[in-house]
Amino acid sequence: MATEAHRGPLAPTGGPRVERSWRPTLLGLLGGVLVLVLAAAALVQVRQFALLKHSVASQDDYVALGIYQVEVEYYRLRESFLRAQKPAVPLDREALQLRYDIWVSRIGLLRNERTARLMVGDADYEGPLHMIDAFIARADEVLGTSRPKPVDAAALAALQPQLDALARPIHSLSLSAAHRVSEQIAERNQAVRQHNQVGLLLTGFLLLLVLAIGALALRQMRLLRERQQTLVDLTAHLREARQQAEAASEAKSVFLANMSHEIRTPFHGLLGMLSLLRDTGLNARQVDYLRTATESADHLLTILNDVLDMSLLESGRLTLSEEPVDLRELLREVESLMRPQAQTKSLALHLDADPGLPEKVRADRTRVKQILFNLLSNAVKFSDRGVVVLELRRVTGDGGGAQLEFVVTDTGIGMDQATLARLFKRFSQGDESRSRRHGGTGLGLEISRSLARLMGGDVTATSVPGEGSSFSFRMPLHEVAPAKPAAPQTAPGAPTGTGGPGPLRVLVAEDHPVNRQYMEALLQGMGHEPFFAGNGVEAVQALRERRFDVVLMDLHMPLLDGVGATLSIRALPDGAAATVPIIALTADAFAQTRERCLMAGMNDFLAKPVSPERLSAMLRRLFGGPAGETEATRSLPSSPTTDLAPPLLDHDTIETAQRAMPRERLAYLLRSFFEQGPDLVRRLRVALRDGQALDLRVNAHAAHGAALNFGLTALAHTAQALHEGATHVPAHEVARLIERYEQLLQRSRAACEAEGLLDARTVTE
């Protein structure tokens, strides 16, 4: 079937290929015939040439003349004879002799071989010759050279009858000669005509041959053109087919991406409800059932994530979102998650990090964890005893670049060569029974390796059956410089562990009732006050009417979606409402979505399903530690405990400034600066909202310069941080910096007032 389909569009070439095999023979044949024809033409030419040469050599026309001359001279002789016999005239022997000799010489010519050739076989040739010879024999007695007898009329009279008798034979000889010559000419003409005809035939044949060859050439060209056209058609056909295939693949990816959200949403509802159920007071059996249900749900979620990841990887749409990652923190997280699993199987779990490793690296935290979880859970899954070790070290890659290497080693059942070979192929799971028991999609290793390769690294494995396996995950090492001192302290004196900010008014914009219930439970459990909006329009309206501390915004909502609502909120006239922190709740994983959120002015993301830990961590980040920290306490000059916070006022600079200008002038300038402060803050916020990094930089730079001149160090530092971070620091960080600037502005102003720098004495402006 396949071969037929393959040959289908190529069928036309089957024909010409057959023809080509006897094409040379045909051409050879034509060539041979051509040569023959040319040879024949040459032959004709040669024959004609020979014919003409022969005619020149034989001189037949002159032979005829010779024969006529005999007759002419004969009559002259006879006339001389008669005249010589006239009695009145004296005999002119000389003249007669001459006449006779001339005639006889002509007779001699009759005898030569040319004449003989012309007249051969003619009866009228031999007869007359004999008679002539007889006469000459007798006449020579009188007129011959020896001259035995005298020449007189009587002797001539005796010869006369014999002479007369020669008239008719000589005449017929002439006529015969004439006929013969005419025949010869006719023959020659005929021969020439024949040659001409043959020549014409040959020419005609040649013409045919030329036409035939021309026709063959034309045919060949036509076939070539046809074949070319077939190729062109085929190419177009293939291109079309490929486009269709690509379009289909694209459609499939889009479908999958859309479906992922649709699948996940009820899912999260399910998971959320299950987790809430846990806290509603269940008996042991119910707890057991719940755990099974939760495990199944988790497993299903894993499968879903794997499938989505696979689809993204295959279509090349999976993008990594790199950020500075604290390696040790990452390892701790991984360890804490894997420990329960290891403990269940009585396996020891060791983590070992090379001390020379940098503190922070650029990496996609989620994906790195995903790979590590995959490798570690495999190690745990396939080991019944012993220890699972995760080592992290710095190595040099093949290209010479620095790499991070995570090595997961176990003392499990190991794998044989065959299994190793199939390892990274999808759906191949080393030990079928074990996999079935422990679950798994079979996609895990393939995804891990694809992700690693996407990062610029790889995942490789070695194993000894019965002893254990070792998986090595390598990725390029990109160190991140330690954080700048000017980076804002989120919470001076914030506690490290439990607790969170005081009760917050949280607006949750979420269209799914199940999810709303879940968030309500979650937030209330943390001690916050949740409020709800069912869509974007309601959310914006809520912000118009009331103050909230933070907004959790679902992206997909009817009427107005998360992005649109954010844009509207940021455009609110009320500054406090417009700058409320907005956190996106999103189920889909595309980088484009994140970008859109940032561009709209959202501050951060939370992936759905929302885990309580992550939510509280985020709120902590935004609002600091436990309740008790009020605005008042925070506006005090920075305590020495936070040694990285710069002082509000630098007195040296102030003194310099005071020396440079009159006190009143400085006061006026300071006052102007503080009066323009809020305006600047507004401009900064607008620049952030609109994504105008340049505006941000320009304004921040101006503020920095001014603040530095006045010795407002803390302010200057913040402005500096804004200026430098405008392009690459995440939007929510910038927002925080702007807020800090605003706070510092107020504190600096208070400090200046306290020191009497703003006193206006005499103002002469």
Binding site: D101, I102, S105, G108, N112, E113
Partner: protein, 156 residues
């Protein structure tokens, strides 16, 4: 008389003493009788003799011809022109270009195989081209110009 003849040739043509065998008329510079130059056989014998053998259409085998060069004969009587009309005893006539005598060693033969030619033998004089020496002469034109039984040449 005989010994004086060569000297006589250089300065003028003596009239013939024997039977006239050739008369050259027309544009003749040194006539010896009226306004023509007449030669007898002795006068022709006095001129430098040449001979060659050649095959001809009139004899089946090659024959040796001997006689003075035609151009020498023409020079002897101061003949100058563009055409020579050769006329034979039987009133056969043919035109030759004057140049032929200069270009080719055309013989005015008087001996055939070292024997004088009688009228019967196509004598006494025969204009012969060197056919064997020059293949170009073996054509009808030149055969036609080879007049035998030569009687007279008119120089035009």
């Amino acid at each position: 008389m005989l010994c004086l003849l060569p000297w006589g040739m250089a300065h003028g043509l003596q009239p013939p003493s024997g039977r006239v065998v050739l008369t050259i008329s027309g544009r003749v510079g040194k006539p010896n009788v009226a306004d023509a130059a007449q030669f007898d056989m002795a006068m022709l014998e006095q001129l430098p003799q040449h001979s060659f053998s050649t095959s001809t259409p009139w004899y089946s085998e090659p024959r040796k011809f001997t006689g003075p060069l035609l151009r020498d004969v023409l020079a002897a009587c101061g003949a100058q022109g563009s055409t020579l009309r050769a006329i034979a005893l039987n009133d056969y006539q043919v035109d030759l270009p004057f140049d032929d005598a200069q270009r080719f060693d055309v013989l005015l033969a008087r001996l055939l195989d070292d024997r004088p030619m009688s009228v019967r033998d196509k004598g006494p004089l025969f204009i012969i081209y060197p056919f064997d020496t020059r293949p170009a002469l073996r054509s009808t034109t030149y055969y036609g110009r080879s007049a035998w039984q030569l009687k007279r040449i008119e120089v035009r």
